[in-house]
């Protein structure tokens, strides 16, 4: 583990993207904020808490899944990954650096949603720690999906299309902007293939929008298992030394 490299990579590729390419930040916030507005209007404000908590997950998840394009671009197009292979860092350091950069890039969105959540009294003191843990799990698991996609690509040309589709499928379809209880059980389990679904169910439970019950307990296990499995697979797919 090389924390110095991870820290610098996260700072350079997280903060400097915000500073020097603010349009990326606006783009990453536009979909969740639009959906927040839509959900607020259509539900007459009744589901605004769900859209707020969902937007928080959605911002992180979409930033991380879009990381597939970065990882593929770094490996296939500009050869930055090759450059780092012949150094002292491990693939784990490189992956963690990228993951942390997505987290840093997500900070403005997290802060915005935290302010909105406090304004609408969505968050409680007791829910802060579970929220942080859940968001970390989402960051790690979705980033590893990004590494799996990036590592599977032989050409760069399709990666932006694939990530755009996955971003919608993984961050809008799951119950992030609406109560998970609206979904039939079978659909909930199918959508649990995306770590965003268990994360959204847990967040709705921990902030008190839904009851903590058997389903939320099951979702803890699913989110944990997906995070571990995806991390192992991500490491296999990164193609450090081919």
């Amino acid at each position: 583990m090389n924390p110095r490299f991870i820290g610098y990579f996260a700072w350079y590729y997280g903060f400097f993207v915000i500073k020097r390419g603010p349009s990326y930040l606006v783009a990453s916030l536009s979909l969740p904020l639009t959906l927040l507005f839509m959900v607020g209007i259509l539900s007459h404000g009744n589901l605004i808490s769900f859209a707020l908590i969902g937007g928080l997950v959605s911002i992180i998840a979409s930033n991380c899944i879009n990381g597939a394009a970065d990882a593929a671009f770094f490996r296939l197009q500009i050869k930055i990954q090759d450059l780092f292979v012949a150094t002292k860092i491990t693939p784990g350091d490189y992956m963690m650096g990228l993951i942390m950069s997505y987290l840093v890039f997500s900070i403005p969105g997290i802060v915005l949603y935290a302010i909105l959540g406090l304004y609408w009294h969505v968050f409680t003191i007791g829910s802060v720690l579970p929220i942080i843990l859940i968001l970390i799990a989402v960051t790690i698991s979705i980033s590893n999906i990004a590494f799996i996609i990036a590592g599977s690509m032989k050409h760069i040309r399709n990666v932006w299309g694939i990530t755009a589709v996955l971003s919608i499928v993984m961050t809008v379809l799951p119950p992030v902007f609406y109560p998970y209880t609206f979904l039939p059980k079978i659909a909930l389990y199918v959508l649990s293939a995306s770590p965003v679904t268990p994360a959204a169910v847990l967040l709705q439970g921990y902030v008190g929008l839904e009851q903590l019950n058997y389903t939320t307990n099951l979702m803890v296990l699913i989110l944990f298992a997906e995070t571990v499995i995806l991390t192992i697979l991500g490491r296999q797919f990164i193609k450090w030394r081919e």
């Binding site: 090389n2 110095r4 490299f5 610098y8 990579f9 350079y12 590729y13 400097f16 993207v17 020097r20 390419g21 770094f74 197009q77 500009i78 050869k79 930055i80 090759d82 450059l83 780092f84 292979v85 012949a86 150094t87 002292k88 860092i89 350091d93 030394r241 081919e242």
Partner: protein, 279 residues
């Protein structure tokens, strides 16, 4: 010293990129030249521990690339073919990040990065985002990266591909200032002639000729290359260009026949592969 022994690389679909290559590289600047697809990049990626060979190995400064990967990585720098900077970062930031990955402290990295950029006359662009730099400047930034690393061995894979003549000369000048042992690949024969102490000529996954440029061109002593579109006298035809290797005494005769007369260079090593020039 780099000692390559019986190096094979077979990709999927049975494409053989290296066919049991044996080579000793012990000069300050050694150049691997060859056409596209000759196996140069595969060789460099294996030597710089980015790719596993199918069979065989190489020893770099006493360390085995398979068994002592970490030690090899601590003494080499490798600039991949077509490497491009992360556009949003400045040369200073990119070099610093690379040096931190090599184990430098942030302070050391900053100092070495500044020195290398200054050394290569890039100080003016030190803090400009890389996507505002010209193609030549971007490549020079990678050479500065290699310079700052203070590595024992530097691999440069086609460092000037796609650059205009002036940018190429700028990169050559930067490469000449590196003090490490350099292994570079190129398909530009003039680049090999400009930079190299030793040349290995690769074709179809194997080395077909090696030595100094003078040694490699020894077979052409006293010869000139005569070329003419649709010429009737030739040793070899490239497309519709007839190429004939002639003694210098026959230059006038071939000029009268409408041939262009050219100096022999490393390109001719490929053109004449398998031919007996004496005949």
């Amino acid at each position: 010293m780099i000692e390559i022994t019986d190096l094979h690389k077979k990709y999927s679909r049975n494409f053989v990129a290296l066919k049991g290559l044996n080579l000793l590289l012990d000069n300050r600047v050694s150049t691997i030249i060859g056409r596209n697809g000759a196996g140069k990049t595969t060789l460099l990626r294996i030597l710089s521990t980015q790719l596993y060979p199918t069979k065989g190995t190489a020893i770099i400064e006493g360390y085995d690339i398979i068994k002592e990967t970490r030690k090899v990585r601590s003494i080499i720098s490798s600039i991949p073919q077509e490497a491009q900077p992360i556009g949003i970062l400045s040369p200073m930031e990119q070099i610093k990040l690379y040096l931190i990955a090599r184990g430098f402290t942030a302070q050391q990295a900053g100092k070495e990065a500044r020195f290398a950029l200054d050394e290569l006359d890039m100080d003016e662009f030190r803090n400009s985002p890389s996507d505002t730099l010209s193609g030549g400047m971007k490549r020079k930034m990678f050479v500065a990266m290699a310079l700052a690393s203070n590595s024992d061995v530097i691999f440069l894979d086609e460092p000037t591909t796609g650059l205009d003549p002036l940018s190429r000369m700028e990169v050559w000048s930067a490469i000449k200032r590196l003090k490490s042992k350099i292994i570079l690949t190129t398909h530009y024969m003039d680049e090999a002639q400009e930079l190299s102490d030793f040349v290995a000529v690769m074709d179809q996954g194997d080395v077909i000729s090696r030595g100094t440029i003078k040694e490699i061109l020894k077979a052409f002593d006293g010869k000139m290359r005569a070329e003419r579109i649709d010429g009737e006298t030739y040793d070899i035809k490239v497309g519709n260009i007839a190429v004939k290797y002639i003694d210098k005494s026959k230059v006038d005769e071939f000029l009268r026949m409408g041939y262009d007369i050219k100096q022999v260079n490393l390109n001719d090593v490929f053109l004449t592969r398998g031919m007996n020039l004496e005949s």
